[in-house]
């Protein structure tokens, strides 16, 4: 019996380690490979707690195993009545005291990091972005810069960026696992949190609070670029001219259609307070269409023609005149040519797919 048991065990162990190793998950999405300040602090506490937990679990497992193996009812001694032990004070004190100590060991660093992460001392001197969660997309408003973007949040590497997070409708939660833990976007108050990316990259963001049918599709990105590139990007974004005519005819027609179909009522290009729908400035450099689809023209056309099939319950569906495929293609062409900056996801190392 023990023969095949042993083999089974090794097999299990092997597959387990295989899973765990491959299981750090996707780089730039996983929380297990932190590349930002908040994520790193969380990781420290995680590691500390896992060490404590593993130790305690091993102790429990050992006592458990010995008890079950050694004190099984013996054949032929079914009538044996063990001694009826009432308790043992020393033991009971030991297994009360040790967990208390362990809890303290975990609690103190936890409290220190809680206050560390809530520190807003540098908020005034840092970049500030107003983050608004909307049913199924994120809006970013760079304070004092007149820059508005949606879905892609550009930040400089190695700098604290303070986010003032709020919601325009239901509760959402802003989460970029590799960079930082999450913070809720509430409708009635502003939560402030800072993020700091250590490395350049395009990091996945997720909405972590149930917010309706398309909650699972409310992805966004943090694009961390070097300070120089960031400055460049800010400069470019400030100089966007929303009226600018595209070069080629198709795109130009697209622009007219964009206006004719009332898209402007919800979508701004350039810095404009309109925020019913995502700001479409610099659309050519978007990491994704509607947050989740690959940034191709076909996907964009699909979106414009039938957003409902892509994001159920989104707030664009049904609020604009029907567009034909031909029209949609033209609009897409126009949007795909909105290239307002040379700093783009590629500058941060590209979207990892």
């Amino acid at each position: 019996m023990s023969h095949w048991m042993g083999k089974l065990k090794t097999l299990l162990m092997l597959s387990f380690t295989a899973i765990v190793l491959s299981a750090c998950g996707k780089e730039n999405l996983t929380a297990l490979d932190p590349k930002g300040y908040g994520a790193e602090k969380s990781m420290d506490i995680m590691i500390l707690s896992i060490v404590i937990m593993t130790a305690v679990f091993i102790i429990v497992a050992i006592i458990f195993t010995i008890a079950v193996v050694r004190f099984r009812e013996k054949k032929g001694r079914e009538d044996y009545i063990p001694k009826q032990v009432e308790g043992n004070h020393t033991l009971e004190i030991v297994w009360t005291a040790i967990p208390i100590v362990l809890v303290f060991v975990l609690a103190i660093p936890t409290i220190i990091t809680i206050f560390d992460l809530a520190d807003t001392a540098e908020a005034e001197s840092s970049i500030k972005v107003e983050v608004t969660g909307n049913q199924y997309w994120w809006h970013f408003d760079y304070k004092g810069e007149e820059i508005q973007t949606s879905q892609d949040l550009y930040v400089p590497v190695g700098k604290k960026v303070y986010l003032d997070i709020q919601s325009s409708d239901v509760i959402h939660s802003f989460w970029v696992p590799t960079i930082s833990g999450k913070m809720d976007a509430n409708p009635e108050n502003v939560n402030t949190m800072f993020i700091e990316a250590y490395e350049e990259g395009v990091y996945w963001g997720k909405c972590a609070e149930l917010c309706g049918p398309s909650h699972s599709l409310m992805d966004f990105k943090v694009v961390a670029v070097s300070q120089d590139e960031f400055d460049q990007w800010v400069e470019d974004m400030k100089n966007v001219n929303p009226e600018e005519k595209p070069q080629d005819a198709v795109a130009s027609e697209g622009q007219d259609l964009f206006e004719a179909n009332n898209c402007m009522a919800c979508h701004a290009i350039g810095s404009s307070p309109v925020a019913v729908g995502p700001n479409l400035t610099n659309y050519a450099n978007r990491t994704a269409v509607a947050g989740i689809l690959e940034p191709t023209k076909e996907n964009l056309v699909d979106w414009i023609m039938d957003p409902e099939s892509i994001k159920p319950g989104n707030k664009m569906t049904g609020n604009y005149p029907e567009v034909s495929r031909d029209e949609a293609e033209k609009i897409a062409e126009y949007l795909m040519q909105l290239d307002h900056s040379d700093v783009n996801p590629e500058s941060a190392g590209g979207i990892i797919d």
Binding site: I19, K26, S42, V60, F71, E188, L210, P213
Partner: protein, 618 residues
């Protein structure tokens, strides 16, 4: 069994008997049956969830339906499966354990059950009337106030009904334990399951009102235009979260404490050894309950309550590890030096210890607020609470079912099938939920209808889904076992395990209507064991044989509950059309009218006569 059942009854008579019964054992069985039904329902919903997540971007069910599915899965499992099944055990076992003939409020007991059942049915009817609630079992505002359709209205009314029922149960058990302990049954001689029933009832008493208030506010906002959660009129959505979790966290201890009680009965019985550290077990139970009220905001670490609040609640949360640890180690010490017999009931108990310990530890990890910024609302949390709930509560329920089945139904469940069911379920359970810890940390938030391709989440989700089917297989084997045992099983002895320690094993299986012909004299902890060790086969009676006073059955609880059930529809639909107010009033008239009848009509109960009792065998 009792006098009445010696004659064969027709189906109608049996049905009437159950509709009108105020017998705590029958009510207990009904709680178990209804809870099991809802467990299967919730389980099927779980399977649908897992099928949807079997591969990336699956479209097995639509996004809206998925949200309904998780909401109904969570709500059904917590409120209509786990809680009632545990109430079933309390009803069926606790009065026997303290040597009582009945509970303090038999009528209220029945009313509580029917309110729960109709609440559960009401909520599930939403599937057929335009869609189930879809804001998660936590129903966070303003998503829940703005959710279109009537799903959330069903959620409010269903929970309100069943919550009222549960509250009645809690008060009933408290009074029963305080006033109806038999001769010699002092507090510190009460079996642990009775203790946990007591403490759980206190938790119910103090936790459910917060939910009631929260639901009222939600109901008023949705149905009568108030502005508690309407930000434009100064409302505040965080109030709901606080009220929900002031209830919600104690609720998880309402689930786990009775399960702890069950294990504290089973482990000594099958280790043939008294429970190690009885008094510290009692103390730990109280401490868990007390701390349980002081930690609710650990569900709200990311809400933005500020570092001070987060620190306080983090420390409070971690502190619960201490009393729970005391319990774990006491169980281990009980087995240590014992003579452990491993049958199905014990197997579930043994499976519980490591599984729950893992779940508890991830709980403490979640309590470390800084780390929770990463865990929160991901599959790590899903993994945590299924480890404690399935590995703790469901294992506890299954252990209890195997253990007390003979006492409830007079037959011993089949051992072979019991073991097969355990192993299938146990393996499936770890397969499903262990991997979810990693899924969460790899960036998979919870309540996700789909996960995207190429995010490294495929394998984990596949394994998880496979595990769920193992659990389903285990459940099916258990169902077959029940059917088989009912049809073919042998009649059980009073003390089928031979090592029973508490009073319920001193009487016949199933227990007679009046429980104890003569109330037994309790001489210490584990009274039946004491008598057996002294060579007695029976408890010493503490009173001469006499007439036994019994409460009368009544159909009113059913009618009252139906009245409120009807009124609920009035509440729900008067939003669309004011003429539904008629239904509301009609329902209320039925309910309140029946309550009046109940209070104005004297009901002194009846007696079972001494002469009839003498005819009955022991």
């Amino acid at each position: 069994m009792s006098i009445a059942s010696t004659q064969k009854k027709g189906f109608g008579a049996i049905l009437w008997d159950y509709l009108t019964t105020v017998d705590h054992k029958k009510i207990g069985n009904m709680y178990l049956a209804a809870g099991a039904f809802f467990f299967l329902l919730g389980g099927i919903e779980a399977l649908i969830i897992r099928i949807q997540l079997i591969k990336p971007e699956n479209d097995f069910i639509s996004a809206g339906l998925y949200n309904e599915m998780i909401t109904m899965h969570g709500t059904t499992m917590i409120f209509f499966a786990a809680t009632p099944m545990l109430l079933g055990f309390m009803n069926g076992v606790m009065p026997l354990q303290i040597g009582a003939r009945d509970v303090a409020f038999p009528f209220l007991n029945s009313l509580g059950f029917w309110l729960f059942l109709l609440g559960g049915i009401l909520m599930n009817l939403s599937w057929f009337f335009g869609g189930a609630p879809d804001a998660g079992w936590t129903g966070y505002t303003p998503l829940s106030t703005s959710s279109p359709g009537h799903g959330l209205d069903y959620y409010v009314m269903g929970l309100q009904l069943s919550g009222a029922g549960t509250l009645m149960g809690g008060i009933n058990f408290l009074v029963t334990i305080v006033t109806m302990r038999g001769p010699g049954m002092t507090y510190m001689r009460m079996p642990l399951f009775t203790w946990t029933t007591f403490v759980t009832s206190i938790l119910i008493l103090f936790a459910f009102p917060a939910l009631t208030v929260g639901l009222f506010l939600l109901q008023f906002d949705r149905m009568f235009g108030s502005a508690f959660f309407d930000v434009a009129l100064g409302g505040n959505s965080v109030i709901w979260q606080h009220l929900f979790w002031i209830f919600g966290h104690p609720e998880v201890y309402i689930l786990i404490l009775p399960a702890f009680g069950i294990f504290s009965e089973i482990i000594p019985t099958f280790s043939k050894k008294r429970l190690f550290g009885y008094s510290s077990m009692v103390f730990a139970t109280f401490l868990i309950a007390f701390l349980g009220f002081m930690v609710w905001a650990h569900h709200m670490f990311t809400v933005g309550l500020g570092p001070v609040a987060n620190s306080i609640f983090a420390v409070g949360t971690m502190a619960i590890a201490v009393p729970t640890g005391i319990k774990i180690f006491n169980w281990l010490a009980t087995m240590w030096g014992g003579s452990i017999k491993i049958n199905s009931a014990m197997l579930w108990a043994l499976g519980f210890i490591p599984s729950f310990t893992i779940g508890g530890m991830t709980g403490v990890m979640l309590g470390a607020s800084t780390a929770d910024f990463q865990y929160h609302d991901t599959y790590f949390v899903i993994a945590h609470f299924h480890y404690v709930i399935v590995g703790g509560v469901v294992f506890g329920i299954l252990a209890g079912l195997h253990y007390w089945w003979p006492k409830f139904f007079g037959k011993v469940l089949n051992e072979t099938m019991g073991k097969i069911a355990f192993w299938l379920f146990f393996i499936g359970f770890h397969l499903t939920f262990f991997i979810q810890h990693f899924l969460g940390l790899m960036g998979m938030p919870r309540r996700y209808w789909v996960f995207l391709e190429n995010q490294g989440l495929d394998t984990g989700n596949l394994i998880s889904t496979i595990g769920a089917f193992f659990m389903a297989a285990g459940s099916i084997v258990f169902i077959i076992n029940i059917i088989y045992t009912t049809a073919k099983g042998e009649k059980a002895a009073n003390d089928p395990w031979g090592t029973g320690r508490t009073l319920e094993w001193a009487i016949s299986s199933p227990a007679p209507e009046y429980n104890f012909k003569q109330l037994p004299l309790v001489r210490g902890l584990d009274p039946y064991w004491i008598e057996k060790m002294d060579g007695n086969t029976k408890m010493t009676p503490a009173e001469p044989l006499d007439d036994i006073h019994m409460p009368n059955g009544s159909i009113l609880p059913v009618i009252i509950s139906i009245g409120f059930f009807i009124a609920s529809f009035g509440f729900i639909y008067q939003v669309d059309n004011k003429s539904w107010l008629i239904v509301l009033f009609a329902g209320m008239v039925i309910a309140i009218g029946s309550m009046l009848i109940r209070s104005l009509k004297d009901d002194h109960g009846h007696h079972i006569h001494k002469e009839d009792l003498e005819k009955e065998a022991d």
